[in-house]
Amino acid sequence: MISTENLTIAYGDKVIINDLNLTLQKGKITALIGPNGCGKSTLLKALARINKANAGQVLLNNQPLSSYADKQLAQQMSLLPQILITPEGITVQRLVEYGRSPYISHWGKLGDQDKNIVNAAMQETQVSEFATQAVESLSGGQRQRAWIAMILAQDTDIIMLDEPTTYLDLSHQIELMKLMQAMKNKGKTVIVVLHDLNQACRYSDHLVVMKEGAVIAEGEPEEVFTEQLLRDVFSLEAKVIKDPIADTPMCVAY
């Protein structure tokens, strides 16, 4: 379980997140939503100890993040950043193998168990057939799946994704959401920053709505996602209706 305690993060003079207390539930999909610049990506990076807290702290299983060793922590949680840097000429297999970094010996040698996990991750994301191809030669959707395979190979209880759907077309977005649900069904905790509000409602169990570095509302989508909230947080005039397929709330702007 991961939580924040009076977390404050600032870049220079600019306070991005102010005195935030938040607890995220285990084994669920939590979606962070909010307008651009509300601090949701910053929060995610702070949870993944990429951004350092100026005050307060992040707790993992009631222990501050700083008390964990780098590798130890990397065995507990993984992050897929929004902007992915694909090294020149790297193959899919190799990329997924990097996911085993927190587990392997000093010399970067993979054991049999590591190899099995890598293969399983590639199968689950259906990139096995591209294993020996260069990541750059893949299509956008395939590439994203290769990266997800790397995250799966890291085999952590907590998985964080920062706007994973940004450069994908709709069918690949849905595919990715389903992958997320599959992870949850395996008992993983998924924390995801999402842009598309309707997708967030449909696929997450828990919504965290942020504005100007503070959490405005949190809870199940059915409770939280209201017309009033859309007006307050997004300055959006919209009607909230029931999703005809999943029965979750969805908004239609006007």
């Binding site: 990076k45 590798k71 990397a74 993984s78 950043p81 840097i85 090294p87 790297i90 970094s101 964080m160």
Partner: protein, 327 residues
């Protein structure tokens, strides 16, 4: 596809080339000695003992060691800074070490070797600290960083020139270091560079996987359990140590630190597991060729090997400029 299927074959060919040129180098020099005499001398000493065993042989070991040090240093710097134009000489590290060493020799010509080593090392570290500070403050593009590094390098080299010119009496000692040459070196320097390599190469292999992961970007590396700042510091420190000790042994030899890793990448792809040994091998190969040429072009005159490497290196640098379109 870039990743080669036959790295071991390439390694075999490379090592054979290194061996071949090392042996060739034994035969090249001012005095003409027959093959039989050389072999005889190697095993039983005799008439040519000094020339072969005390002069040419240590030079071969030094050329291989210094070249390997520079190549490896370049591979580490390029791996950390992610800048195709980065190398110990283009970033002023070599010149910093050279300036420190020259200063020491000008004021204390009889300096013991270990003191020279430490001085060169501190010079290299200071130069590296300056450029890293500027890079940290201004976040330059790769090209701009290269320019800043070259300018700092020029500055420090002018400092070397200055010292050489105003202290012409001490020039003979310092001159040997300044020009980037293996002339006048003997067995005393061999354990320095090879000892350093023996410690650092295993460490470089330890860094290899981590440097590969760093290629995914700092955020990804962090979440994979690698602290970027720590890794960068360790790798850079290693690179500075290698470059500085190479300079302490052979002076500033340009472009090997830039060229060797690039060639290695062309042959072996991007994995540091291969890049690290192959950059070292290629660096050694280049310097031994340069040094052999330096001795053999117009005996008994000696060219500084550093001049030869810059004759090859500068055109390659231009080729690199043409190739990288992305900036």
């Amino acid at each position: 596809m870039k990743t080669m299927k036959l790295p071991s074959l390439y390694f075999f060919i490379l090592s054979s080339l290194v061996l071949l040129f090392a042996i060739t180098s034994l035969f090249v020099g001012a005095s003409d000695i027959s093959m039989a005499d050389i072999i005889h001398t190697l095993f039983e000493r005799g008439e040519y003992d000094f020339i072969i065993n005390q002069y040419r042989l240590p030079r071969i070991f030094l050329a291989l060691g210094v070249g390997a040090g520079l190549g490896l240093s370049g591979a580490l710097i390029q791996g950390v800074i992610r800048n195709p134009l980065a190398s110990p000489d283009l970033m002023g590290i070599s010149a910093g070490a050279g300036l420190a060493a020259t200063t020491l020799l000008v004021f204390y010509a009889a300096a013991p070797v270990y003191l020279l080593l430490l001085t060169a090392l501190s010079g290299g570290l200071i130069a590296a600290a300056i450029i890293l500070f500027i890079a940290y403050k201004t976040r330059p593009t790769p090209m701009r960083l290269a320019l800043i590094g070259i300018a700092i390098s020029t500055f420090l080299s002018s400092g070397i020139d200055f010292l050489m010119i105003v202290n012409p009496i001490e020039i003979n000692t310092a001159m040997v270091w300044l020009t980037g040459s293996l002339w006048g070196r003997n067995w005393t320097q061999v354990p320095l560079i090879w000892g350093t390599l023996a410690v650092i190469i295993p460490f470089a292999f330890w860094l290899a996987w981590r440097l590969d992961v760093m290629g995914l970007g700092e955020d990804c590396a962090t979440s994979l359990g690698i602290r970027p700042s720590k890794l960068q510091l360790m790798a850079l420190l290693t690179a500075v140590i290698l470059a500085s000790i190479s300079v302490a042994v052979a002076g500033t030899i340009a472009f090997i630190g830039l060229l060797a890793p690039h060639l290695a990448r062309m042959l072996f792809g991007h994995h540091h597991k291969y890049l690290i040994p192959s950059s070292a091998l290629l660096g050694g190969l280049m310097l031994i060729i340069a040094d052999t040429l330096a001795r053999g072009l117009q005996p008994p005159l000696e060219l500084p090997a550093g001049v030869l490497t810059s004759l090859i290196g500068a055109p390659y640098f231009i080729f690199l400029l043409q190739r990288y379109k992305a900036w």
